[in-house]
């Protein structure tokens, strides 16, 4: 027998093993692919043999080939075979191969469950270890579910080697199978105090990762970690714990103070703790100053031993600073020079970090200085990527929050012009859009801008010199447009006109030529006007001739747009020339073609167009769709608002019923049809109720468990929102008068809109008139639209704008009235503001279907006084791109309104006063005015924002849920006052029974107190009286009795509706648990 084995292995020793394979590949440098394909053929042969050793050898070689980029998934089954070998040697090879190439969609994975289970319970610790290691790489939800219990048992294995692996892999299991977290958690907690440092470290590791996702749940572990931090000597564990505290301190501010002392000790002991410590910086001033010292040390002196480590420290210092900057900008700003120095660093990582910091540091005072320094660097920088980065940063810095820091726009224009001289930049488009933006929005700058642009056009050959780099010639697009549109400011329009009609222009990209042609026509009009004024008709005719000579060049263009515009204008000019020859004055009429001012139109401008009298947007234009039509097409049919003539009053009542009937029938049909793929419950619901448009699919989630729910496709949301807004508008009209009397507002909340720091004391060097009313809504993308839509569209847009202005004025008046009333009422409820505790109203998480931006909302409500609710929203940027220009908007209901700054319309969004770098969260507060508090309500809203990388507009829908409970304020009440209150007889009575409540009575009371803001007045055995008070002064009294699993609540309140709703909410709280 033994002889046979030896013989077998002698045969085998001439098989190719891994080393031979590697050697072979190295020997076949020339035809590597061919060699490998023969090897793969050999491997396939080897895999067919029965000898497990041969198979293992083959799998081992496959693992190597996988690293080189060869797909080896075809051997998945053989890998499983090798995994299930009884010998550790082969098992290890098998598991390694599996961990390298198995993933969730590998179908043979389900065959492994039993094998893995067997290995996990193997008496040999290394069998178990190798199985755990492998599993950690390819665990699937199914495996996690099936093996969770086995792994949990291993967590208390006798061998620390197994324990630490089991603890660590639990994190992966939690990820794939979240239900396992609850039962496993106590044991995990136990492992924090395991005698073996390795196990301890693994447990810390796992809890840190968990806490990163949801820190709230781990606050209770803080004391334990505190103990660990002071006792542990393992740096790795210390770093993790400090990271964990970094996540916890925002939730529990007292922690920050407690941590100062041990942290200081640690920093003195070990410098590299400092890198994690930056997470904490934001928490307290003391820590900030502390870390600043550390930052300074690292930046200026560095570590003495090695130059690379200085760089490491510099990098980490800058990273820490950017964290501090978010909370304490002042303290970082004082290090401006230091940071500017870092721009000179030879290390690109450090330079980019420093650039990032600068963005947050600019103010009106230092903007010019900083940009000047940056411009110097632009000149010096070699390597286009870094230069491009600099360029975008300069523009970002200048244009941030609507050019807030620019005091002199002439300066900015010249910076932009200077930037065009950069060779080979990709960001011509960016510069162009900035030029357009500034020229359009800053009136006073136009003369200067036009002059600069004319020079640019004149020297166009400099920009287009190297045609390969098309980037920069985008600038000409802006230059041509600005010169054309504001041609009245041109000093020498004729010269510019000629520059625009040079033959060389034909080499530019099509869209730029198109703009050239159009704007040449505008210039032509201006030139004519000037020349006719001079009573020299020949000059005017010469100009026409010039146009007629040059335009045919464009008529021949390959670009359709250019062709079309050119031939149009050519015919026009020919006609003009004819008239000129008859000595007709044409300049006036030609100018009229381009009369009027173009205004930037916000994407939301359509909203401001009032719905014409007598137009019912909800009435069917055509017959309701037939049964075969899919449900989601209906909103589109409604949306055909461009044809208002077709709409006529209909018997909507009948339609509604008919529709409901059909819908029912269709649902039935779908349910019975096995081939119909049913949508997930949430989206199905949304679709089915789409015509009602009451339900935008936003999912409400309990605060403690964030979920991600994919939204509907964008277009649908737009349709729905639009429709809903209209419905509301109509409702508003009807009830406007009522509202006027009742509504109150205050100026609170407006303050939030002001910028991060105001420096009004600096008088701008150059006074510019900024078109403020349109400012927050102007976006680059709309510029193109404006320009392309000229002609007809021009008048439309102006009218749209006028009407919106009109509206605004009206609104303002209304508001002023309201405000007066408000002030009176304000006093009355003032004392409440102290008692109003923070409470969660709702927490929603929305994930966009697109891969790019994901934002998470934690919405918290805060009660202030009689008619106001403050909602704090935490915006967290979960995507990888910078988010800016965020606007928060809520569709007002009759009852609740978002307080907007004076002068804005009822549908305007509030600008969120910050931008969000990736991974950052920040909180904004919004004030809502609430009229009646007796009913719970849900407000729908949207958040629009611009993703910086793609500069597209994105939006997120969310829902704010104001429960009646959130209007209650915990107010203590003495038993005698309580008794009097009950005796007074003013209160209406109601009661509710809760069945099957299995919890101690004091827990039940605590729950009511916590969730519904009651306070216990008196408690006798299993009976308690509770009291709370609403922000508008309604008394709510409860008598809670329990017997067995039944809880009965008798309640009294002076407002029956409120009481009913509160009771419903209490009921709901207990049904959830």
């Amino acid at each position: 027998m033994a002889l046979k084995i030896v013989k077998g292995s002698i045969d085998r020793m001439f098989d190719k093993n891994l080393q031979d394979l590697v050697r072979g590949i190295r020997n076949h440098k020339e035809d590597e692919a061919k060699y490998i394909s023969t090897c793969i053929d050999e491997i396939k042969q080897e895999l067919k043999q029965d000898n497990i050793a041969v198979k293992a050898n083959a799998v081992c070689k496959l693992t190597y080939l996988q690293m080189l980029g060869y797909d080896v998934s075809w051997a998945a089954f053989n890998i499983v075979e090798v995994m299930s070998s009884s010998k550790f040697t082969y098992k290890r090879i098998g598991y390694l191969a599996a961990s390298q190439c198995f993933h969730e969609s590998t179908d043979v994975i389900m065959l492994t469950t039993n094998q893995i289970r067997k290995d996990l319970s193997s008496p040999n610790q290394y069998d178990t270890g190798v199985a755990l290691t492998g599993l950690s790489c390819f665990v699937t939800p199914d495996l996690a579910r099936d093996l969770a219990n086995d792994i949990m048992t291993l967590m208390s294995h006798t061998k620390p080697y197994i324990r630490k692996k089991a603890v660590l892999i639990m994190y992966k299991v939690f990820l794939k199978y979240p239900e396992s977290l609850r039962p496993a958690f106590p044991r995990l907690k136990e492992k924090l105090e395991d005698p073996d440092p390795g196990v301890q470290s693994a447990a810390v590791n796992v809890i840190c990762e968990l806490a990163r996702r949801n820190p709230k749940n781990y606050l209770s572990l803080a004391p334990l970690f505190f103990k660990l931090m002071t006792s542990s000597t393992n740096n790795w564990v210390l770093i993790k714990i400090i990271k964990l505290f970094g996540a916890l301190t925002p939730l529990e501010p007292r922690l920050g103070k407690k941590l100062i002392e041990p942290l200081t000790n640690l920093i003195h002991r070990k410098i590299h703790i400092f890198s994690s410590h930056k997470m904490l910086c934001s928490q307290s001033h003391l820590i900030v100053s502390l870390s600043r010292i550390a930052v300074l040390i690292s930046l200026s002196s560095g570590m003495p031993n090695h130059s690379a480590s200085i760089q490491v420290m510099k990098y980490l210092g800058l990273l820490a600073m950017s964290k501090i900057l978010k909370t304490h900008p002042k303290s970082v700003q004082s290090h401006k020079d230091l940071i500017l120095q870092c721009l000179d660093d030879k290390d690109e990582s450090i330079r980019l970090r420093a650039l990032d910091l600068l963005y947050g540091m600019v103010s009106k005072k230092n903007l010019m200085e900083i940009v000047k320094k940056l411009m110097l660097h632009v000149d010096k920088a070699e390597g286009t990527t870094y230069r491009d980065e600099l360029l975008t940063k300069i523009i970002d810095i200048c244009s941030q929050s609507n050019y807030q820091y620019i005091t002199n726009f002439e300066w900015y224009i010249s910076i932009l012009v200077e930037l065009t001289r950069l060779e080979g930049t990709r960001h011509g488009h960016l510069i162009a859009s900035q030029m357009l933006d500034v020229a359009i929005r800053v009136r006073a700058i136009r003369v200067f801008a036009v002059a600069q642009m004319a020079t640019l056009l004149d020297n166009a050959h400099l920009l287009t010199g190297n045609m390969q780099r098309m980037g920069i010639c985008e600038v000409l697009y802006a230059a041509a447009w600005i010169c054309g549109e504001f041609s009245e400011h041109l000093e020498n329009p004729m010269q510019t006109l000629e520059a625009m009609l040079r033959p060389k222009v034909a080499t530019l990209p099509g869209h730029i030529q198109a703009v050239y042609v159009q704007n040449a026509a505008k210039l032509f009009a201006t030139v004519l006007k000037n020349q006719e004024g001079n009573t020299d008709s020949t000059a005017a005719q010469e100009t026409s001739q010039l146009m007629i000579d040059r335009l045919p060049l464009f008529v021949q263009s390959a670009n359709l747009e250019v062709q079309e515009r050119a031939s149009c204008i050519l015919q026009l000019v020919k006609y003009i020339q004819k008239l000129q020859q008859k000595d007709v004055e044409v300049a006036e009429e030609v100018c009229a073609l381009f009369a009027g001012e173009l205004n930037p139109v916000a994407p939301k401008a359509q909203k401001k167009v009032p719905v014409p009298e007598g137009l019912d947007l909800d009435a069917w234009i055509n017959e309701p769709p037939s049964e075969s039509e899919s449900e989601d097409e209906q909103p589109k049919a409604i949306f055909a608002k461009e044809e208002p003539k077709h709409s006529r009053p209909r018997h909507t009542e009948v339609d509604e019923k008919e529709l409901a009937r059909r819908r029912e029938a269709r649902k039935q049909e779908q349910a019975n049809n096995p081939f119909y793929i049913k949508a997930s419950p949430s989206s199905q619901k949304a679709y089915q109720e789409a015509p009602g448009v009451e339900h935008i699919p936003v999912v409400q989630i309990d605060l403690s468990v964030p979920l991600k729910v994919p939204g509907l496709p964008m277009s649908d949301q737009y349709v729905k929102l639009e429709e809903e807004r209209r419905q509301k508008e109509r409702a508003d009209k009807k009830k406007k008068e009522k509202k006027k009397r009742k509504e109150k507002r205050s100026g609170r909340g407006r303050k939030h809109d002001s910028g991060p720091e105001s420096e009004e004391d600096i008088t701008p060097a150059h006074m510019v008139d900024i078109v403020t009313e349109e400012m927050p809504e102007v976006h680059r993308s709309c510029l193109n639209i404006t320009m392309n839509l000229k002609g007809n569209a021009r008048t439309n847009m102006i009218s749209a704008k006028k009407s919106s202005k009109h509206k605004k004025k009206k609104q303002k008046k209304e508001k002023e009235e309201k405000e007066k009333k408000k002030k009176k009422k304000h006093h009355h409820h003032h004392h409440h503001s102290d008692g109003g505790g923070e409470e969660s109203v709702q927490n929603g998480t929305v994930e966009e279907e697109e891969p790019l931006p994901v934002s998470v909302y934690d919405i918290q409500g805060n009660l202030q006084d009689g008619s106001q609710v403050v909602v704090s929203v935490i915006f967290e940027n979960k995507c990888d791109s910078f988010l800016k220009s965020m606007e928060f908007n809520v569709l007002d209901s009759l009852n609740s309104k978002l307080q907007r700054p004076e002068g804005s319309g009822p549908h305007d969004g509030l600008t969120v006063p910050f931008q969000l770098p990736p991974g950052v969260s920040n909180e904004a507060r919004f004030v809502f005015t609430v009229q009646s508090i007796v009913m719970p309500q849900k407000l729908k809203g949207t958040l629009t924002f611009i993703v910086k990388d793609s500069s597209t507009h994105e939006k997120l829908d969310f829902k704010l849920h104001f429960t009646c409970t959130s209007y209650l304020i915990t107010t203590p009440c003495y038993s005698d006052a309580f008794a009097k209150l009950l005796e007074s007889g003013d209160l209406k009575c109601s009661s509710v029974r809760l069945e099957g409540v299995i919890m101690p009575f004091h827990h039940l009371l605590a729950r009511i107190c916590f969730h519904h803001h009651f306070s216990v007045v008196e408690r006798i055995d299993s009976c308690a009286s509770m009291y709370s008070r609403s922000i508008q002064g309604h008394h709510v009294c409860l008598l809670v009795k329990t017997s067995g699993q039944t809880v009965s609540i008798d309640a009294k309140c002076d407002e029956p509706t409120l009481l009913g709703n509160v009771l419903d909410e209490i009921k709901q709280t207990f049904s959830q648990c």
Binding site: M13, Q19, M67, T89, T133, K165, S275, L319, C879, D880
Partner: protein
Amino acid sequence: MIKAILIFNNHGKPRLSKFYEHYNEDTEQQIIRETFHLVSKRDENVCNFLEGGMLIGGSDYKLIYRHYATLYFVFCVDSSESELGILDLIQVKVFVETLDKCFENVCELDLIFHVDKVHNILAEMVMGGMVLETNMNEIITQVDAQNKMEKSEAGIAGAPARAVSAVKNMNLPEMPRNINIGDISIKVPNLPSFK
């Protein structure tokens, strides 16, 4: 979490790739190429951090790398890992030194021919993207124990195979001369931070 661990040489040839998240083979190769491209153009005396490339997930991720003689050791990690901690993990404390101990003065060739062993060592250090053990002695103990087990399993049957591979490997030191001139400088003679 650690997203990936890559080792490649000065020419971008992968010597070890361990991804803790699934990518298909083509993407993996692309990631390796991109990472090599990013890392290799950096000077020697600059910091060891790089904000992640496009492929390996956006700005939350960082590349932390070390360059030893002919090899780059690159860890791709997210923000929950401490930059210095990982740097330590690669260098002074754990990874390279463990390799050094296990291979007795490690050089690129060891990694080329024994990629499976490197994987086994790595598995004792990082598991499923999380750091398992930072104590070098502990790692070496476990790796040795497993190797011993392997040897005892091979037993008498393994002897001839070992003999053959020993014969084959005798040529190893000469190999670079025969095949690849570029690899002559692979020995890591004096790592400044070792020991």
